[in-house]
Symmetry: C2
Subunit: 625 residues, 2 copies
Amino acid sequence: MASDAMSPKITVELLRQLRQAMKNSKYITEPIQAYIVPSGDAHQSEYIAPCDCRREFICGFNGSAGTAIVTEQHAALWTDGRYFLQASQQMDTNWTLMKMGLKETPSQEDWLISVLPENSRVGVDPWIIAADQWKNMWKALSGAGHSLVAVQDNLIDAIWEDRPPRPSTKLIALGLKYTGLTWQDKVTALRGKMAERRISWFVVTALDEIAWLFNLRGSDIQYNPVFFAYAIIGISSIKLFVDSKRLLEPAVREHLELDSPSKPDLTVHCFPYESVYTELQAVCAALAPKEKIWICDKASCALTQVIPKAHRSAIPYTPLCLAKAVKNPTEIQGMKMAHIKDAVALCELFAWLEKEIPKGTVTEISVADKAEELRSQQKDFVGLSFPTISSVGPNGAIIHYRPLPETNRTLSLNEVYLIDSGAQYLDGTTDVTRTMHFGTPSDYEKECFTYVLKGHIAVSAAVFPSGTKGHLLDSFARASLWDAGLDYLHGTGHGVGCFLNVHEGPCGISYKTFADEPLEAGMIVSDEPGYYEDGSFGIRLENVVLVIPAKTKYNYRNRGSLTFEPLTLVPIQLKMINTELLTQKERDWVNDYHRKCRETIGAELERQGRKVALDWLIRETEPIV
Amino acid sequence: MASDAMSPKITVELLRQLRQAMKNSKYITEPIQAYIVPSGDAHQSEYIAPCDCRREFICGFNGSAGTAIVTEQHAALWTDGRYFLQASQQMDTNWTLMKMGLKETPSQEDWLISVLPENSRVGVDPWIIAADQWKNMWKALSGAGHSLVAVQDNLIDAIWEDRPPRPSTKLIALGLKYTGLTWQDKVTALRGKMAERRISWFVVTALDEIAWLFNLRGSDIQYNPVFFAYAIIGISSIKLFVDSKRLLEPAVREHLELDSPSKPDLTVHCFPYESVYTELQAVCAALAPKEKIWICDKASCALTQVIPKAHRSAIPYTPLCLAKAVKNPTEIQGMKMAHIKDAVALCELFAWLEKEIPKGTVTEISVADKAEELRSQQKDFVGLSFPTISSVGPNGAIIHYRPLPETNRTLSLNEVYLIDSGAQYLDGTTDVTRTMHFGTPSDYEKECFTYVLKGHIAVSAAVFPSGTKGHLLDSFARASLWDAGLDYLHGTGHGVGCFLNVHEGPCGISYKTFADEPLEAGMIVSDEPGYYEDGSFGIRLENVVLVIPAKTKYNYRNRGSLTFEPLTLVPIQLKMINTELLTQKERDWVNDYHRKCRETIGAELERQGRKVALDWLIRETEPIV
C-alpha cells in the first residue's frame, strides 16, 4: 500500500515505450511530437474504473484530477493545489510537476507551444478528451502553427501490458417503488423536450444519465452505481449500447421489455458498447437536411465529431441532466429514508467513539471501517458513495484526505476529528460531514467552528427567489469567516444524485462557476462550508439539503421563493459551538434542527432497538440558550 | 418636447429610403437583404453624441439600449424590459417591438434566419458593432447559409439629411493637482505592462481611457467629459487621432509638449481622427512576425479586423481600464472633495424641499433644476454626470425614469420621493440616490425602505478577502428583501470614474456578470440596492464607496481583507427607517455614518455659511436607538 501512495513510480521504461509508440506507424500515419493523457474516461466520469487510469499508469500520480503530457524530450503533469504534495511524491524525476493556479505555471497550451519544434503534431485519444477541451487546445495549437491530432488507438493501452479489462458488472433493475417513473415515462418526457426544440436524436454519453433514464444500476465504477453504456434516443427509436452479456439476466430483459416490447417506439434496440461510433455514423448518414442532434458539449470529441456541424446542437447541460436533478416525490421520499438510516449509523458510530477513543486504539482507518460496518447493517445498503475522509488534527486540513496506513493517526481527546462519509442505498445517496472533539476543544477551534456553523446556517436558512442560481448563495456561507479574516478554498455545495453519483450537475453552490442552472424545488445539494488551518486542524459541516418552496410575507412579481430543508439529520456537536457568537435566529435554527434530529432519528433508533445511540442522540440534541 | 417622448415617429419614408440605399451600388457592390443599426458609436460608448443617434433616427425610440434591424419586408427593434412601454410609444406601426428577456422573443440572429430568403446578405456598419458581437452574429448567420457584410458607408448617415456634425469641443488639460500622475507617467506604466506581455502596440478606442491616459477632458458627449479620439501606443511611439483644430489651444499644446517634446519616445504624434484606420494599417504592415497588438474585444469590428489575427491579442479589459479603476491618492482625495461639495448641495436641496413642498409648487422637474443650480454653486463644478432621476410616487418605480413635462408630478406630503443625481467636478464625479418622505410614510413603505437599507449596509460593511470579485457581494444586498419575498431587478453597483464616466468597468457588484475584475483597494463603486412597487413607489439608496483595506482578527494565508468606506455623505432619512427591523450592528452603522456626515459636511456647510442646511443636517443626523 505504502508504495502506491508515497514512493514514486519508476517510469523510464514506460516513457521510452510511449515515445516509440508516438513514432510507430502501427498507430499513427505520421509521428507525433507530443501525446496528451487526460485523466477521464470516454464518458467524462469524475470517478473512473481501473482500466481507465491511464494517466496514473504513465506517471504514477493517482489523484482525481490531472493531465499528463509527454513530448520527445519532456514529461509534465498538471494538477491543482489539492495534489501538489501527493503528485510530487508519486512521480519520479522524469516528470515535471506543473502547479496549476500558480502565476508562474504555464497552461498546457502555452507550455506545448514553448517546447515544441515548429509545425509539431500533438496527439490525443479523442474518446477521452471532451469536445470543448479539444476545441480550446486545437485553437491554441493551430494559432501557433502546430496541429492537434486525434489518435484512434490509445497509446497508453498499447504499452499497458496488464491493463485490467473493462468492468461488466451485474445490472440491477429498479422498480417504480424506487424511481417514481418508469423508463418509458422518462423516454417519453425526453422526447417531449426534443420535439419542443425540433431535435431528432439525442446522444447520451454520461453514465449517470443512462442509468437514470433506464432505471438501471451497475457497479462498474467504485462508489458510483453506474455501468458502461451509451444511448442514442430518437423520436421513435431507442438504441442502447452495452455489453450484450449483461442483458441475459431475465430481470433486466423483462425490465427493458426486450422480449415483448409494448410499443414499437418504446422498443429498446441493443448494440454492443463499442458499436456506438458506427451506429451514430449511420444515424447521421440518414439525416434530413434540417435535422438536429443533441450532444453535451462535455461529451467526447470522438462522438461529437461524428455529427456533422450543421446537424449538431451542443448543449452545456442535457435535458436528462436537468430532469434527473429535480427529484420526484418517490425519489425525495427515498432520499429521506436513506438519510434516516445513515443518521442511525452515525449516531451509533459517535456513541461508540465516545467510549472507545479513551482506550487509545481507535484510528482514522478503524473509524472509517466501523462507519462502513454500521451503514452496511442498514436496509438496502449497497456500498459507500465515496472514500471516507476520516481525519484527525492536521490531517483534517487536507481537504481531500483519505487515511492510509502511513498517515493513519489515532483519535485522541486532544485533537479535532473530521469525518466526511456517505453511502449508497437502493433508495438514496448520502454525504455528511461532522467535525467533533472528544475532549475539550480550544477557544480558537470553537471560534472557527462557530463561524463555519454560521455559514452553514446562512445557506440552509436562506430564502431566495425562484430562478436563483446556487452560486449566488455561496457568499452567505463565507460572510462570518470573512468578517474574521478567514475563508475556505472550495465550493460550498454540489448536486447529489438519488442512488446515483454523489456529485452531479447542473446545480451547486460555488463561487467558481457562473454556468450552473437555477435552483428548483426538488433539487438536492450539499451545504458544506469549512475552515482549514494547515498543520493543525480541519473543520467542515455538511448536510445534504432539499430545495423546497418558502413561505414569505410578500411575493414579488409572483415569482415565489425557495429555501432548503435539511435531509441529513445528525446532531452538530454542541461542545464545538461558542454560543455567544450566535444570533438568536441562529440559536433557534440549531435548536429546531436538533429537535428534528431527536424526533426523526430517535424514533428510528428506538425501532431498531439501538439504546446506546438513542441515549447519545438525546444528550447531543439538548437545546442551547 | 412631448412629441419627442410620447408620439410615434413617422418612418414610412425613411424606411423606403433606407431600403433603397440597401440596394444602391453607390454604397454596396451587391444588394443586402437586411441592415442592422446598433445603438452605439464607434467607441462603444454608453452615452452617445446626437450625430451617433442613428438607431433613434431610423425608428424613433430614444432609450439607451436597443438594436434596429430592417429587412426588405420587416423592421424590428430589440430592447429590454426597462424600455418596452417607451419603445412602443415612440415607434410607429412599421416597427415590431422585440421584447428581450421574454421567452417567446427570438434573438436577432434567430429572427433574421427565420425571415430572410436563402443565402441572404446582412449588412452592418463595422465601426459601430463591437468585434465580439460581430463574431457571434457572423457565426449564427453563416451557420444558416447567410453572410454578414461590413458596409463601410453608414446607410443611416446616407439618408439622414440634417445629421448634426460630430462635436469637437474645447479640450481641458488637467494638471497633477487633479490627476496625481502625468500622462507621461501613465504612458510609461502602460508600456511596462506591454513589455511584460511582449506587446508592441496597444490600440486605445474607449473614450474614457484616452481622456484618462492623456489627462485631457472634453465635452463631446453630454454628461461624460470625454472627446472623440483614438490612440495607438507603441513601445517607443505615441499616435493620437483627434480633430487637429482642438490642438491649437496653447494650454493643450503645452500639456502634450507638442512643440517641445522632452523625449523622443514621449513625443505625441497627432493625426486626424479619421486617419486611425490607415495609420493602423501602416502599423500592421510594418510588424515583425511575432509582434502582437492589444485591442479590447469590445472595440469596433472595423479596427479589430485591420489587425491580422496572428498579430492580434484581444483582451476583455485593457490595462488602461484596470489602471484607471484603481484611483491614486490624488484622485481619491479629489473624489472625497467632490462628494463633500455634492453633499452640501443636497443638504441645501433637502432643507429647501421641506419648506417648499407644502406650498404645492415643487415638481419633479423643478427639483432637478434646483439640484443642478445648487451643485453649480460649488467649486470646480462642470456639469451633471447623468440626467437627474427625480421621481414622485409611481414614477419612482420606473427605474430609469427621467421627468418630462407630460409625466411631471408635483411633490407632496403623501408620496415617496426618489432622487438619483450626480455631477462632474474637476476633482471628481458623484452619483447619489436618496428616497424620502416629506409627510408620514406608511408602515409598508418604511418596511421596504428598511430592507433596502439593510441590504445597503450589508454591502457597505462587508469584509471580504482581497481578490474577491464584486459579483460575489451582490446577494448580501438582497438577503433582507429575499427573506420577505421581495427583490429588485437591477445590479447593486457599478464602477465610478474620477471626473470621468459615472459608469465604468471593470469592477461592479451585480448578479449578472461573472467577468468583472477583482475588487482592489482604491477602486470606487456604487452601492445601490432598491425596491420598486409598480404603480406605487420606488426606493433606492445609493452611496459611492471606496474599496479600502480592512483590519480583521485573523489573516488567512496572508491574503489581506477589504471593505468599503462611503464617499457619499448625505443623511439617510430616519423617518423612513423602521428601527425595530435593524440589528444593533446596523443601528451602529447608521449612527456612525450620520456622525461622519455631520462632522464632515457640517464643517463645510459652516465654512460656506449655509445655516439652514446645517440646521437640517444636524437634525437629520440624530442618533437612533
